[in-house]
Each structure stands twice: as C-alpha cells, then as structure tokens.
C-alpha cells in the first residue's frame, strides 16, 4: 500500500455528511455509478413497457388495450393505438434504449463504479464534472419523457430523426414540432453528460493508476471502458452540434437540413438551401461508433467475468485489447453502410462496404479468443458466467448478419427491413443487455455487500436466453421476406401472410419481458435481504476485490492505495497457495503469461 498523497494533484473531497451530498448530489464515483444504474433500470422498464405496447399492436392491430387512453387520450382514443402513436412509442422506445440504457448501464454505470477501483484510485480526477455528468444525463431523460405530456406528444420520426421530416415542424405530423425540439434538447444534454463522463474516464485511466498498475496490467473491463470513452469523446461531440442545428431549424428559421421548394399540405415551406443528407452524415458519424459504445463495454465486462469463472486468463490479453481498439478505429470508417440506398454517391457505398466487411476480422478474433480460452478451462457455471457465455452466443448470431448488411448489393433487398432490426437488436441490444446482466450478477456483492439469489438468477437467464432468440431470430426471416420496418400495421399484400410470425414474436416478447420482473425482484430483494457476501465471492484477482469492505469505503481503499505487483488475471498459478493471486498480493510467483 502506498499513501494517497501520490495523487495530491487530484481535487480531494472529504466524505459528505448530509443526506443530499451523500446520496443525491454526490461526488463519489460509486454513488454516481449506482445513480446511473438506477437511471438505466428505470429507463429499461419504460422502454420495455413501450415495446410491449408496440408488439401487441403489431400482432393484433386495432386491439383494445385497457387503460391505454390514460397514457394519451389523443394517441389511443377508445384504448386503440393510432398509427401516429405507434410511431411515437417506437421512437421513444429506441431513443430510451439506445441512449439511456445501452450507453448508460454498461459504460456510465459500471464504468463509473469500477474503473477508478480497478485502476487503484480513490476517485475520478474531476468529481464535480462527474456529478454534473449524471445530473445532465438525468435532465436529458426528464426532457425526453416530458415530451409525452407536451403539445401533440413525442416525435414520431424514429431514433434516427431523418430530415426533413424532423426539421420542418409540426406540419409534417404529430410530434414533429415540440416533440422533435424536446428530443434534440434531450440528446444534446445526454451528449454533454457523456462528454464530461468520457473526460473523467480517460483522465482516470491515464493519470490515476496506482503504483505498479501499468497500462497492460489494467483489467479488460477497464480497457473496454477506456476505449469506449475515447469513442464517446469524438462521437458525442458530433451529435451534440447536429442536435443544436436541428433545434435552430425549428426555432431560429435556419435551413441546415431543409432544402428549398418542399411542399407540405399544398404549402411551399419557408426554407431553402439546406441538405437532408447532411443530417444523415452527421447522425451516422455518431451512430455507428455508438453501436460500439454500447457493445465494447459489454465485451470487456464479459471477458472479466468469464476469466474469473474459467479460472484462467484469456489466451491473449493484448490481442483482445488490440481488437477492442481496432473496432473503435474502424467504427468511424463504416458509417456510410447505413446510407447505401440514400442517394449518396454509389462509389462511396463501395468505399464504406470494405471497412464494414473488414470489421468482421477483429470481431472474429474476439470470438475465437473467447472460444479458445474456454478450451481447457475449469469453467464454473453460475448466473454471471451463463450470461457471459450467452453474450458470446448472441454476439455470434447478431454478428453474422452483418456480413449481409455490409454489402450494398444485398442491402438493396434488406435495407429498412426487419432483418436490420433483428441484426442490431441481437448484436447491440440483447448482447449488451447480457453484458449488463453478467456485470450485475458478478459485481452486485461488491456494490451492495450481499449476494443475488442464484436460483432466481438462473430462471431469469433461461427465460431470457431462449426468449430473446424466439423474438429476434424470426426478425431476420421477416426481413428476408421483405417485411419493412417502422410500419404500424401490415396492410401491404405480401406482408399480410407474415402477421402470424409477428404474433409469435409478440407472445415471446411478453414472456421474455415478464422474466425481467424476476430480475427486478431479485435485485431489490437481494439488496435488502440477500445473503451477506463474502469478501471475494468469486475468488477473483482484480483490485475491486481488494477493497477493505463491500461496498468499498468512501475513498475505496481505506486511506492506503494498493500497490500492484501482477498482471490482472493470475489464475491457475503454479506454486501459489490457492489457484489465484490478487493483483496487489506481494506474493512472489511465476507470472502466468499468455501467448499474446
């Protein structure tokens, strides 16, 4: 252990005493991490509830859903969803899930809680920025949800908010006025929050590592959060100004995204000179890295969880890190594959197609390293490792459909169909959720000092694993048959025979969604009445298991920072007393080297 004065340049803050400073406007990264987790939990149940309503409507159009008019009397007169209300719910489902769940939970929540501890720091270097980061994000969520109650409701333009539908105002449809402005304010706020968070993550990783913690000794989860924060810094920095320009098109009479001579309701619109494709370029320049912002933390988390449960390090620590990095770099070179049929120059389509195909190489390396590391391991099956293994299965299933969407010629048939919806739900939705679940079951004992119930955890896993396959695999079949996405009903002749498939999916979605209530119950029940957690329940090696208590004290390590002597994953160590050696154990061992 070495003295914390080593980090004297960091703005230290004393332990708070008041309730507000301790639990609400806290500067403690652990409290902020839990706040982010709480926000994601609230958001995911809102998002899932919206998806239930959507799925019911898709299976049985004009179905009466008792009480629906309470949500919106205009959107559901007589408790039947209107076409525009379907689109509004869809847009909110996607926005909430992508931003406030898939970015918030694996990156902001777990990253905030565990990154400083895993590098051996007492906190982040800019705790006030960190607090602001959460509260600005929270404000973004409040603004987004408030659009349900303002004017003619939330925007119906989809989470991608393509202009000029999103930019010409309420003349284009319900929610396209105040709904879009609130959406854009919410997302701009979210971007500011994540930019502040990313700055903290990067600085903590580079500047706050404890003695002996070289970059290569950082656990894979920390590497994943670090690389993600670099992506966040550049991606959110593009989306935020794009949102501001969109707001200006609404409130300041500008025409960034609206060309001249558009005629809506027989009226020529008072705009000229804008470019609709500009929005698409700006959006997807953010949008594609965002996919990796959602999934890379999950990759880091499940690697970390799997290693402890395989009782061995990965075949190559560094190869995994290089692959995370390659994904991050390539993610900026592929965004045009969302725009193959957009009217963009067809030569660009080919230029964007090759990097998209090449991104399968680091993805394949990741899968092969995970599989190769399972070989010869001493795998422990528990809820955390089941979700981690489930992540790999989902990532493979969602990943292979990327082969199709990377090619412009095939995209002619699959663009804007359910094939795309199936692809991204599996690869960045479900896989990322599995990462969140693996992290939750693994780290809960550290965060709350209690164990989660394993039996309930396994029931949750089985229903979720089988259920998500039942939901999202058929999406691919629908897409192959030409089922267009973002339709509130299937009146097109050739889509009508596909309705039974939609009904199957709806039933699966309701059951899988209900299974998440088991998780919620387990979370809340275990928080208060779970078995007290042992000091190091998984016999894991990284620094979060070296704190003097669970949850860790205010300054993480009780006044003395740990000194790191080993690589992060010293399992299966020859000549050691156990089968593992903690990172901060001064025990002399022959380091378990990988072949990387």
């Amino acid at each position: 252990m070495h003295d914390m004065s080593a980090h004297a340049h960091v703005a230290h803050h004393a332990p708070p005493t008041s309730f507000i400073r301790k639990h609400i406007f806290s500067l403690d990264h652990k409290v902020i991490g839990k706040q982010y987790y709480g926000l994601a939990l609230l958001a995911v149940f809102v998002g899932m509830f919206l998806s239930w309503l959507m799925r019911l409507h898709l299976g049985w159009t004009n179905l009466t859903i008792p009480g629906l008019h309470l949500l919106s009397s205009n959107g559901a007169p007589g408790n039947v969803m209107t076409p525009e209300y379907y689109l509004q719910l869809m847009t909110m489902h996607a926005t909430i899930m992508v931003f406030f769940v898939l970015t918030t939970a694996p990156f902001a929540a777990f990253g905030n809680y565990f990154l400083p501890i895993q590098v051996g720091a007492e906190d982040m270097p800019f705790p006030r920025f960190n607090m602001m980061s959460f509260w600005i994000t929270f404000a973004g969520f409040v603004v987004l949800v408030s659009s349900f109650f303002v004017g003619d409701g939330p925007t119906l333009g989809g989470w991608t908010q393509y202009a000029p539908l999103s930019a010409v105002g309420s003349v284009a449809g319900p929610g396209e006025g105040s709904g879009v402005v609130l959406w854009a304010i919410s997302i701009a706020l979210f971007c500011v929050g994540q930019l502040l968070g990313s700055l903290n993550f990067i600085t903590t990783t580079l500047d706050m590592r404890t003695k002996g913690m070289s970059l290569w000794r950082l656990p894979l989860s920390t590497w994943a959060w670090f690389i993600t924060s670099v992506m966040g810094l550049t991606a959110f920095a593009v989306l935020m100004p794009a949102c501001i320009l969109l707001i200006l098109d609404h409130v300041a009479g500008t025409s960034f995204f609206v060309p001249s001579n558009l005629v809506i309701s027989d009226q020529v619109q008072p705009h000229s000179g804008g470019s609709t494709l500009l929005w698409q370029h700006l959006f997807w320049f953010f949008g594609h890295p965002e996919v990796y912002i959602a999934i890379v933390p999950g990759m880091g988390i499940i690697s970390h969880v799997l290693i402890a449960n395989m009782r061995r390090p990965m075949l190559s620590h560094r190869t995994l890190i290089y692959s995370f990095g390659a994904l991050a770099v390539l993610s900026y070179m592929v965004y045009g594959h969302h725009m193959f049929v957009s009217g963009m120059n067809p030569v660009s389509s080919i230029a964007f197609s090759f990097p998209t195909l090449i991104i399968t190489i680091p993805s394949t390396i990741l899968v092969l390293i995970w599989l190769g590391s399972l070989y010869g391991a001493r795998l422990r099956i528990n809820t955390a490792s089941l979700f981690a293994l489930g992540f790999i299965s989902m990532f493979i299933s969602g990943g292979v459909s990327g082969f199709f969407l990377a090619q412009p010629s095939i995209d002619i048939m699959l663009h804007a169909t359910y094939f795309v919806v199936g692809h991204f739900h599996m690869v960045m939705g479900v896989a990322a959720m599995f990462g969140i679940f693996a992290g939750t079951y693994f780290w809960f004992p550290k965060m709350f000092g209690r164990m989660m119930n394993e039996t309930l955890g396994k029931v949750h896993f089985w229903l979720t694993f089988v259920g998500t396959y039942c939901i999202f695999m058929p999406f691919h079949y629908l897409g192959l048959a030409g089922n267009v996405r973002r339709y509130q009903a299937f009146v097109v002749d050739y889509m009508q025979p596909l309705v039974p498939v939609h009904r199957f999916i709806t039933v699966a979605a309701l059951i899988t969604g209900a299974a998440q209530l088991i998780f919620l119950y387990n979370l809340i029940h275990s928080r208060f009445w779970g078995e007290p957690a042992p000091e190091n329940p998984w016999q894991a090696t990284s620094l979060e298991w070296s704190t003097p208590s669970s949850p860790p004290p205010f300054d993480n390590f009780g006044g003395k920072l740990p000194v790191v002597y080993h690589d992060p994953y010293q399992y299966g160590v020859e000549g050691s007393t156990g089968d593992y050696v903690m990172q901060d154990s001064p025990e002399q061992i022959e380091t378990v080297r990988d072949e990387g």
Binding site: L156, I361, I365, S373, V400, A406, Y477, V484, R486, V492
Partner: protein, 267 residues
C-alpha cells in the same frame, strides 16, 4: 446445467437454420434483368454466414459441455497453437472470405449503379409525397413539362404543379397513381420527393432507392415478367408511412400502349 446449456445452444442454432435452408421465408422471385447477381450474392453470403454461425455456436456448446466438468485441481490447458493461430486464422479465413464477398458484391453493385441507362430507355418520373406515389409519363412529345412547386395542389388534382395553360411540354404529360411499364423495356425512373424523405421498394424488381428532398435521383431497370407487383415506401415519412404503397403493372407492349392511352384520355 452446463450440458443442458450446451444442448440448448445447438438446438437453437439448428432450429434457426432450418427456415433459412428450407426458404420458408425468402425473397420474392426476381423479375429484373439486373437481379441475378444480387440473388447470387445473397446465397453466397448466406452460405458463408451460415457456416460461420453454426460452427461457432456448436464449438461454443462443445467447449461449455466439455470444460465445465473439470475436477478441482485439474491443470489448465491451452488451446493448441494459442492466440496466434486464432489471429492468423481470422486474418486468412475471414479476411479472404470478406474480401471475396466485398469484391463480388461490389461487382454486383457496380453492374446496377455504375452503368448509364440505354439512350432509348423509357423515361418515367415518380414523385413521392406523404403518403402516395405519383407517376408521370411524358406523352407523345417525349418531353416533361417543368414543375412549379407553388402550383402543387392536391385539392385541384395538380399533384405535380404543372402549368398546362402556359407550358406546352406539360400539356400532354400523363400523371397516374399506379405505375405500368412494358416488359423487357428498360425504364429510366426519375425520382424526386415533394415533401420529406421516402423510398421506392419493389422486392421482385430488386430495386430499393430513397427519395431525397432537394436531390433529383434516377435509377434504371428492366422488368421481364408480366404481372402486378407492389411498390412500398421504406423510409419513415410520417403517420401514414405503413400505407404508402401502390402497384407496378408489368404489361406486354400492346397492353402497355392501351393502358397509357386510357390514362391519357382520363387526364
């Protein structure tokens, strides 16, 4: 539990593959002259993706089954060849595979998009607006009259904003709500949007192209099989998006001429 998990993964993988192998849900039969390379590319990619999918899932299942049974104290073993084999394998196998897919895919794309329409291709204009497509045929003079956005009026049925009183080229233009084309004749489709983004998708024709407000785009194709097909919008355009559709009739030359005459008479 590990064994049940392994079996579940394999069962899911096989069940997922069956509808693909049986083509239970599949692309509608191609009726275009340019669609064959797309279909071929789809089949090639399906084969490669399918093999990767099944092989990885089965391997995952086998390893879960086999390596969750180790006794405590049993020595950890490493995959023969280690990580380097994985990396080289990924670069060689997957790298070659995706480059091949990319190259052949690019060729298929280029055959559609990098070729100009034949000089004698029949021009047809399509305008997309919330929530309908309108088509315009140039009439006997072969010329389209200019558009006047300020004259667009759904109420007076002037959906294109034509000034037939002053523009001689517009006088004989034929505007229709459905599209008809003669079989085996190349069509040069001139696309523009009236209000927001839309898309033109005919699965059988292997055509999908967005309308971009502010940009005039064009595509060209030849339909080979007489029949009636649906044109649908795939770009979210507002509350009536799901119902923005019309029909494409592929007719014999004679039937097409008769149809066009009938449309001209009803203008």
């Amino acid at each position: 539990m590990a064994k049940i998990f392994a079996v579940t993964i394999i069962v899911i993988a096989i069940l997922s593959a069956i509808p693909i192998l049986r083509h239970t849900w599949w692309m509608a039969p191609d009726i275009s002259t340019h669609g064959a390379p797309i279909d071929e590319q789809m089949s090639e990619t399906m084969a490669e993706a399918g093999i990767s999918f099944l092989a990885s899932q089965i391997l995952l299942a086998i390893f879960i089954w086999k390596f969750s049974q180790s006794k405590p104290g049993e020595k950890i073993r490493s995959f023969p060849g280690g990580a380097m084999t994985m990396v080289i394998g990924a670069f060689l196998l997957v790298g070659t595979e995706v480059l091949a897919l990319g190259a052949f895919g690019a060729k298929a794309w280029a055959s559609i998009y990098f070729t100009a329409p034949a000089p004698n291709a029949m021009p047809i204009q399509v305008q997309a607006g919330q929530f309908a497509f309108y088509f315009r045929y140039p009439g006997p003079d072969g010329k389209f009259g200019p558009l006047h956005p300020d004259m667009i009026s759904e109420a007076s049925q002037n959906v294109y904003g034509l000034d037939i009183d002053h523009d001689p080229d517009a006088k004989d233009d034929i505007v229709t709500a459905e599209m008809a084309v003669p079989a085996n004749r190349e069509i040069h489709l001139l696309m523009h949007a009236k209000d927001v983004g839309h898309s033109f998708f005919v699965p059988e024709l292997r055509v999908q192209q967005d309308f971009v407000p502010g940009l005039d785009l064009s595509i060209h194709f030849t339909a080979t099989k007489v029949g009636r097909y649906e044109i649908v919008c795939t770009q979210l355009c507002g509350l009536g998006h799901y119902n923005m559709r019309t029909y494409l009739s592929v007719l014999s030359q004679q039937d097409f001429e008769d149809w066009l005459k009938k449309q001209a008479a009803s203008q």
